[in-house]
C-alpha cells in the first residue's frame, strides 16, 4: 500500500515537472536573473571588455530586457553560444532569449519553432579578402578557399551564390569568429564570409585593417534580431516591446540625457507619456511595472545611442546607420505605436 502511494506521488511529481515549463517571465522573476544567449565574442555586438563585463549592441538588448523585467540591468547571465549550439540552447530552455546576430528566416520561425520578436540590425552577407589578392568582385573568387562559420544561414547563402554563379570554392568550416580570424590571417583561407557587420567588427580588431577589403557584393538579406521559443507569447511580447521601446524612444527624442525630465511629469506628447508610464497602464498589460520602458531605456539610452556607442561611426567598427536609420530618416527601423 505504502509503495503504491509512493509510486503515485512519484508519478504526480514527474507530471508536474513536465507541466512546469510554461511561463518564462515567472521563471526569470523567481530566478532573479535573465539567461541571455549571446555570441562567443564579436566585438561591438557582444564581447566581454577588459573587466569581463559583457558589452555590445546585442548585449544591450539583454540588459534592457533584464531592466524591464527585474529592474536591474546587471541581473543577466550571459551564455556564450556558437552558431551551432544557439538553437539547442534556446529550445531546451537553457536560455530565456537569444540575442546573437541571428537571421530571421521562414524555416527558423516555422520549422525550428522560434519567435523572432523584431529586427535590431538589418544586415547582409559580405566577403572580406586581403587587398594583395587584387580581387574586386565576389564573382572572381572561383576556386578560392572560404572560411565560414558552420551552422549559419551564411553557409547556405554561400552554397547558393557559388552554385548560381557557376563557380567553385572550398569551404573551411569554423566554429567561432576567433578561429575564423586565426585561419584567415594565417592565409589558410583566402576569403572570410559572414554578415557585413560582423566582417567590419572583425576587421576592426586586425593590426592592419587597411590591408583587407570588404567586397561590394552583399549576397543576402540578413535581418538580425532577438528571438524566443514558440508557445510563450507573454514572454515574446515582453522582449518584443522592450526592443520596440528602445526604437520608439529614439523616434520620439527620448534620450538618456532627458529621460529623467520627461518621466517626472506627463509631457504634451501622449506617445512619450504612454511609453514612460506617466499615462495609461501599458506596463500592467504585459505584466510588468508601469515604468518598465523607463528602466529599459535608462540602461544605455535609446536605440540610436546604443548603436552609436557600440558599432557607430565613432567606434573602431565604424558602421553607418544605412538601413538601420529610423524610418523618419529613410531607414527601416520602425516601431509600432505605443497605444
Amino acid at each position: 500500500m505504502k509503495k503504491s502511494v509512493f509510486l503515485g506521488a512519484l508519478t504526480v511529481a514527474g507530471l508536474a515537472a513536465g507541466a512546469a515549463a510554461a511561463a518564462t517571465v515567472d521563471d526569470v522573476k523567481s530566478r532573479g536573473k535573465l539567461n541571455c544567449g549571446v555570441s562567443t565574442g564579436v566585438p561591438g555586438f557582444a564581447a566581454p571588455d577588459a573587466n569581463g563585463e559583457w558589452q555590445g549592441f546585442d548585449v544591450a538588448v539583454c540588459r534592457a530586457v533584464a531592466a524591464a523585467v527585474l529592474g536591474d540591468p546587471t541581473a543577466v547571465e550571459f551564455v556564450p553560444t556558437t552558431g551551432k549550439t544557439r538553437f539547442t540552447a534556446l529550445a531546451s530552455g537553457e536560455i530565456d532569449m537569444l540575442a546573437r546576430n541571428t537571421t530571421w528566416t521562414f524555416s527558423r520561425d516555422a520549422d525550428l519553432k522560434f519567435t523572432f520578436v523584431g529586427v535590431n540590425y538589418y544586415d547582409g552577407q559580405g566577403f572580406m579578402v586581403p587587398k594583395e589578392l587584387g580581387v574586386t568582385s565576389a564573382k572572381e573568387l572561383d576556386g578560392a578557399t572560404v572560411c565560414i562559420q558552420t551552422g549559419t544561414t551564411t553557409e547556405l547563402n554561400l552554397a547558393d551564390y557559388f552554385r548560381v554563379n557557376n563557380i567553385s570554392y572550398e569551404p573551411v568550416p569554423i566554429e567561432t569568429n576567433a578561429e575564423a580570424q586565426q585561419q584567415y590571417l594565417a592565409g589558410a583561407c583566402d576569403v572570410y564570409t559572414t554578415d557585413a557587420s560582423g566582417l567590419a567588427a572583425t576587421r576592426a580588431t586586425f593590426e592592419a585593417p587597411g590591408d583587407h577589403v570588404i567586397l561590394p557584393e552583399i549576397i543576402s538579406k540578413e535581418p538580425l534580431g532577438p528571438l524566443v521559443r514558440h508557445g510563450d507569447d507573454e514572454w515574446g511580447d515582453i522582449v518584443r516591446w522592450t526592443l520596440n521601446a528602445l526604437i520608439a524612444a529614439e523616434e520620439y527624442g527620448v534620450t538618456s540625457a532627458n529621460l529623467a525630465d520627461l518621466s517626472s511629469a506627463p509631457t504634451d506628447n501622449p506617445e512619450i507619456n504612454r511609453l514612460l508610464g506617466t499615462e495609461g497602464n501599458l506596463g500592467e498589460m504585459i505584466g510588468l511595472d508601469g515604468d518598465w520602458a523607463l528602466k529599459a531605456i535608462g540602461v544605455a539610452g535609446n536605440y540610436g545611442e546604443i548603436f552609436e556607442k557600440n558599432i557607430g561611426e565613432s567606434t573602431p567598427i565604424g558602421l553607418a546607420r544605412g538601413l538601420n536609420a529610423q524610418w523618419t530618416n529613410g531607414g527601416l527601423i520602425y516601431s509600432p505605436p505605443f497605444r
Binding site: 515549463a21 529550445a91 519553432k113 551552422g151 586565426q182
Partner: protein
C-alpha cells in the same frame, strides 16, 4: 513399525513472495524491473509529448530534403543540392577514413614505442617514457587543436609559392606541396581506365567503386597467392631433401610482373598538383583538418597502446627470452618469434577498447573543422533542420554500430590468436 506421515503440503500464499527467501529475490527483481520500465516509459512518453506540444513530433522526413550546404572533403560525389541523408553518408565515410587511418598508425607507433620503452638503451627508453607520459596525460582535444595550429601557422600559404622567386617551393622534385591548407600529393591516374561501378542506383547511398582499383587488388592478391604456393613447394622440397631451392627471385617476379603489366595496360601515370588561381589544383589534397586529427588521434592513442604492449611483453616470463637466447636467436628474432606472438594474447583485448576510443574520439573533429558524421549529421544538418533528438539518436546508433563492428572483428582475431588449450 514406522508411521509414515505425508510431508506438510506446500500451499502458496501471497505473503510468501516477501517472507519466503526462495521467492523474495525474484519479487524484488520483478518490482525493480517494473519500476525501471515504468520510469523509462514515462521518460519516453514525456519527451514525445513535450515535443508534440512544441510542435516538433519525432519525424525523420528531413532526410530526403536537400541539404543546401557544401562539404570540403568528399570521398563520394556530393553537391549541395543532395539530400541530408547523402550528407550524413559523406560524413560517415570521413569518420571511417580517419578512424581506420588512426587505428593503423596508432598500432604501428604504439608497438614500436612499447618495445623501445623496454630497450636496454637508457636514452631511447627514457625518450619513449617522456612521449608516453606527455601524450596520455593531456586531453586529446588539446593535441588536436595544437596540431592544427602548428600546421596553419608554420607552413606557407599557397600564395607563397607564387611569383618568379617564390618564398616556398614544392618538395620531392616538385611533386609535393606543403601548405597551410593541407598537403597536396600526386594522385594515381589511368589513361585507359576501366571506369567505375555504380552501386545502389540513384539513392542517397549511391556509391562509385573504381574498377581499376579492384583489378589492381585482384591481380596483386592472385600474385601473392601464387608466391605463397611457390614458397610452400620450396618448404616441401626442403623437408624431403634438406636443400632449399632459391625462390626469392621467382617470388619477386611473380608478385611484381603481373601488377606492373596491369598498370602499363591501364595507362598508369601520376597527376601532379599545380598552383592555379587561389589554390593548388590536381593531385590529392590531404586537408589540414584531416592531418591534424589523424596525427593527434594516432599519437594520443599510440601512447596507450605502447603501455599495453609493454604490459603484454612483461607478462611473458623472462625465462622465455633467456631460453630463446640460449638457442642462439638474436634479440630481434626473439622479439618477433617468441615474445610478441605470446604477448599478443594479453595485448589484444585492451587494444580493442583503444580502437573504440580512437573511433569515438574522432567525433572531436569539429574542433578543426573536419566534416565527420558529427559535423554533418550532428552539426550542420541538426542546426538547419532543428531535429536535435532525431539527429543525436541516429548519431548514437551510428557510433554504436561502428564500435560493435570493430569489437566483432577484433574478437574474431583474438579467438584466432589465443592460446589453444588441449
Amino acid at each position: 513399525m514406522t508411521t509414515l506421515t505425508d510431508p506438510p503440503k506446500e500451499t502458496f500464499r501471497l505473503s510468501m513472495l516477501i517472507y519466503d527467501t526462495r521467492y523474495r529475490s525474484i519479487t524484488i527483481q520483478v518490482v525493480a524491473m517494473i519500476g525501471f520500465m515504468l520510469f523509462a516509459a514515462w521518460l519516453i512518453s514525456n519527451t514525445a509529448e513535450n515535443l508534440a506540444t512544441l510542435g516538433k513530433p519525432i519525424d525523420f522526413g528531413f532526410f530526403s530534403e536537400p541539404a543546401g550546404y557544401d562539404i570540403n572533403q568528399m570521398l563520394i560525389e556530393y553537391q549541395n543540392q543532395d539530400t541530408h541523408l547523402r550528407a550524413a553518408f559523406v560524413g560517415l565515410l570521413n569518420t571511417l577514413l580517419v578512424a581506420v587511418l588512426g587505428c593503423v598508425t596508432a598500432t604501428v607507433i604504439g608497438v614500436l614505442v612499447g618495445v623501445l620503452r623496454l630497450s636496454p638503451n637508457w636514452l631511447i627508453a627514457r625518450i619513449m617514457t617522456v612521449y608516453v607520459e606527455m601524450f596520455r596525460n593531456v586531453p586529446v582535444l588539446l593535441w588536436i587543436v595544437l596540431a592544427m595550429a602548428i600546421l596553419i601557422e608554420s607552413l606557407p600559404a599557397p600564395s607563397a609559392f607564387r611569383g618568379d622567386e617564390p618564398e616556398a617551393t614544392m618538395k620531392l622534385f616538385g611533386s609535393v606541396a606543403l601548405t597551410n591548407r593541407g598537403v597536396y600529393v600526386p594522385e594515381p591516374l589511368f589513361s585507359r581506365s576501366l571506369g567505375n561501378m555504380h552501386l545502389f542506383g540513384e539513392s542517397g547511398l549511391r556509391f562509385d567503386v573504381s574498377l581499376d582499383l579492384i583489378a589492381f587488388l585482384l591481380v596483386l592478391g592472385l600474385s601473392i597467392f601464387a608466391a605463397r604456393k611457390i614458397s610452400a613447394r620450396a618448404n616441401a622440397i626442403q623437408e624431403d631433401t634438406g636443400v632449399r631451392p632459391k625462390t626469392w627471385h621467382i617470388n619477386l617476379g611473380v608478385i611484381v610482373l603481373p601488377t606492373l603489366i596491369l598498370l602499363v595496360l591501364l595507362g598508369f601515370h601520376l597527376g601532379y598538383p599545380e598552383l592555379k588561381g587561389f589554390n593548388f589544383q590536381g593531385g590529392t589534397h590531404l586537408r589540414n583538418s584531416l592531418i591534424a586529427l589523424w596525427l593527434a588521434l594516432s599519437l594520443y592513442t599510440a601512447a596507450f597502446i605502447a603501455e599495453i604492449v609493454r604490459g603484454g611483453i612483461m607478462a611473458i616470463s623472462a625465462g622465455q627470452t633467456e631460453a630463446a637466447g640460449a638457442l642462439g636467436l638474436r634479440p630481434r628474432r626473439i622479439m618477433s618469434l617468441v615474445v610478441l606472438p605470446q604477448a599478443l594474447r594479453v595485448i589484444i583485448p585492451p587494444l580493442i577498447s583503444n580502437y573504440l576510443n580512437l573511433t569515438k574520439n574522432s567525433s572531436l573533429a569539429i574542433a578543426v573543422g573536419y566534416m565527420d558524421i558529427t559535423g554533418t549529421l550532428g552539426g550542420i544538418t541538426m542546426n538547419q533542420t532543428g531535429r536535435e533528438l532525431e539527429c543525436v539518436l541516429l548519431l548514437m546508433l551510428v557510433y554504436l554500430c561502428i564500435s560493435l563492428t570493430i569489437s566483432a572483428v577484433m574478437n574474431w582475431y583474438n579467438n584466432r590468436v589465443k592460446l589453444v588449450e588441449r
